[in-house]
């Protein structure tokens, strides 16, 4: 009988995370190919179409980048929260509140010049998302309420709140009763970069990414955060301001997701409507876990998962594959990476037992 024994590694190998990630992606692709086969679709052609659809041409890469913007911002926020072991599942709802905040600014001050209106919208978006993140933080600190459930429920509530506004007081009178706000004025739309389809939201991502890197590398609070996340019990004894950290983390987390909402509403759709919600908040969880706290890897992972979404659309068109295919792959990648991370810390021996 063969017995599998695990032993703890003495040195951690730095390249192992990368290897594990790659293996996980390959494995997921393999299982997904199997899924395609199950539905009677050509498996390898399907995977090829996935790549071609996402990376096969200039405009598809642009599409990936555009989609990566909200994913990146949400993931940044979620990653910060995860680092403190705060399980922020509420990026969807915080995204929605951000979009609502930005829309309020856009609808209330349409005449302001863009250098006033756009920053105002961004601030209101950050405030909206941040507030929505603060609520579960306070409930956790004061009432010991599990933030997983609270943030999740707030997601549903936020989406319904968005519906309420868009069906009611904010409905565009010329939209024939359909639930959408007025199209934002020119000043309220984040412009595109030169002749590409990309918008200046990319710059926002860059700024936020750098800010986060600086924060964790050079500031005291960043250091405290990292330490607190490692060992929650020691935190209180060490005198670290746990409560302050939690609130800070959730406000920033929610605010970043809110910014993503602002960019989607302003640059991509140019108004607020229910279909702004496409699940970026949940994808952000996958990215945040895969990429940990490094803004660069978060950026790469965001791009990859955005590429997955774009590729799946191509798959839909060519092979009539249901859209849920993307969700399967996302879940699979995360599961395989989770399992694979085991090998970072442990190796296995195969021993024969007589």
């Amino acid at each position: 009988m063969i017995r599998i024994n695990a032993y703890k590694r003495q040195e951690l190998r730095p390249w192992s995370s990368c290897l594990i990630f790659l293996t996980a992606v390959m494995l997921s692709l393999g299982v997904s190919a199997l899924m395609l086969k199950l539905q009677g679709k050509p498996a390898l052609e399907g995977i090829a179409l996935l790549f071609k659809g996402a990376l096969g041409s200039r405009w598809s890469i642009e599409d990936c980048l555009i989609k990566a913007i909200p994913i990146f911002l949400c993931s940044l926020g979620v990653a910060i929260a995860f680092r403190l072991q705060i399980w922020n599942i509420g990026a969807e709802g915080q995204f929605a509140l951000g979009a609502i905040g930005a829309t309020w600014a856009a609808l209330t001050f349409p005449g302001q010049p863009w250098y006033v209106l756009l920053p105002l919208m961004a601030i209101m978006a950050f405030v909206g998302g941040g507030l929505w993140g603060l609520i579960p933080a306070l409930l956790k600190l004061r009432m010991r309420a599990n933030e997983i459930i609270v943030t999740l429920m707030l997601n549903y509530i936020a989406i319904l709140f968005l519906d309420y506004l868009v069906y009611g007081r904010w409905k565009d009178p010329s939209s024939f009763g359909f639930p959408m706000t007025l199209t934002f004025s020119e000043n309220a739309i984040v412009p595109k970069i030169a002749t590409t389809e990309l918008n200046w939201g990319l710059a926002v991502c860059l700024v936020c990414g750098v800010a986060m890197w600086v924060f964790f590398r050079f500031t005291r609070m960043g250091f405290e955060l990292k330490v607190a996340g490692e060992n929650l019990h020691a935190t209180r004894y060490a005198g670290l301001p746990y409560e302050k950290l939690v609130c800070f983390v959730m406000i920033v987390s929610g605010g970043l997701a809110g910014l993503a909402g602002f960019l989607e509403a302003s640059a991509t759709i140019n108004r607020l409507q229910p279909s702004i919600m496409v699940g970026y908040g949940y994808t952000a969880i996958v990215v945040a876990w895969l990429a940990r706290l490094n803004p660069l890897t978060i950026g790469i992972a965001s791009f990859l998962l955005a590429a997955l979404r774009v590729g799946v659309e191509n798959l839909q068109l060519e092979l009539q594959v249901p859209a849920a295919f993307g969700g399967i792959m996302e879940g699979l990648i995360l599961l395989t990476v989770l399992a694979g991370t085991f090998f970072n810390e442990f190796g296995i021996h195969l021993r024969r037992r007589s």
């Binding site: 995977i47 090829a48 179409l49 024939f176 009763g177 279909s275 659309e313 839909q316 249901p322 859209a323």
Partner: protein, 353 residues
């Protein structure tokens, strides 16, 4: 592991290098907002697609469950870049994205369903479903004993409100005491919620359940309670044979064929197409045998009258829930008023929120 990897790489290379060698078929693309199997809205459109797929030299493709907004824009861009000749987008929210894409691809023809914007290469289209709703209302009004009709509705948008109003007017035409109660589910397709909504209407005494939903959930509820139901989008009698009386249905096939022919022959006009029963785009499904013969006769006579134009459904006097006259006596509401309908007529209990 590495062998599989190599195989994948090779296939990738092959796929990327292979040039598509397709005959120059007339390519038509469809964008659906929900899965086609829902026996509802998208299903009806897909039946239309299958109809034109059979035409010579025409090939069709579709993408289903496309969220409105930037994703739909990308899907349409994708189709246009692949040199599709004609693209149909079947949900209101696709309107602005389609307009953006239409501007970039002047050679492609775009048709948007249930919207109101046009461009030199883009038209919009819809069907006068309210006519069929009116007829179904007549059936419901004749069959109800409690005079309470239940309506399970998805979203308070004009087409749904218009349908409810037409249904009510039809019911009141044969039964002036009939009232219609409305419950909003805020979903197009969720059998569980729709069924629960139907049950809540049954609990307040409704004995005919109608719906503006894409699943047969409400039909199930009606059959379980032993009362009647009116389907939608397609004939739903298979789901509730003991309850289903009739259904207002879509028949997009002949219209799609008309558009394809027009584009191919160069006679296409980018305008608003709003055809009614006379074109066959909407219809009432065959009524079940539970409907008494004289009622069926009356309904069919009314149907012919509407088709010939003798009867126009939204003709005044029509009052709203507060008693205010919205359509004056003798006048027929124009298309603009119909497209933007946001009030309920008298006899409807519910809010348009």
């Amino acid at each position: 592991m590495s062998r599989r990897f190599t195989v994948i790489l090779c296939c990738l290379a092959l796929a990327l290098s292979a040039a598509p060698t397709m005959a120059k078929d007339f390519q038509v693309g469809f964008v659906y907002v929900s899965p086609i199997g829902d026996a509802g809205w998208s299903y009806a459109h897909d039946q239309g697609r299958l109809f034109i797929d059979q035409m010579d030299g025409v090939s069709t493709a579709f993408v289903e469950a496309v969220p409105e907004g930037p994703d739909s824009e990308r899907v349409m861009l994708n189709m246009a870049r692949k040199n599709y000749d004609l693209i149909f987008a079947t949900s209101f929210g696709y309107m602005d994205p389609m307009l953006k894409v239409a501007k970039k691809f002047p050679k492609t023809i775009f048709m948007h369903c249930s919207g109101f914007k046009t461009a030199p290469n883009m038209g919009n289209y819809f069907g006068r479903m309210y006519q069929a709703r009116y007829l179904s209302g007549m059936v419901a009004g004749a069959m109800t004993k409690s005079n309470i009709l239940g309506y399970v509705a998805a979203f308070p948008i004009p087409e749904v409100i218009r349908g409810i109003n037409a249904f009510t007017l039809g019911a009141q035409a044969v039964n002036p005491d009939a009232q219609v109660r409305v419950v909003w589910t805020k979903t197009w397709y969720d059998p569980a919620t729709e069924k629960e909504a139907a049950k809540s209407l049954l609990d307040v005494g409704a004995d005919v359940i109608a719906q503006h939903q894409d699943s047969p959930g409400p039909q199930e509820a009606a059959q379980e309670k032993g009362v009647y139901s009116i389907g939608y989008n397609s004939d739903m009698s298979a789901f509730a044979p003991k309850a289903h009386l009739c259904a207002p249905i879509w028949n997009w096939g002949p219209f799609y064929k008309e558009v394809v022919d027009a584009v191919r022959s160069g006679t296409f006009e980018p305008k608003a197409y709003w055809y009614g029963m006379e074109h066959g785009i909407v219809d009432l499904s065959p009524m079940s045998s539970m409907v008494p013969a004289e009622v069926q006769k009356k309904v069919l006579e009314e149907k012919e009258a509407i088709k010939s134009g003798k009867v126009v459904v939204f003709t005044g006097p029509v009052k709203d829930q507060d008693g205010k006259v919205r359509i004056p006596a003798g006048k027929a509401a124009d298309d603009g008023a119909l497209l933007g309908m946001d009030y309920f007529v008298q006899g409807v209990i519910g809010t348009t929120q």
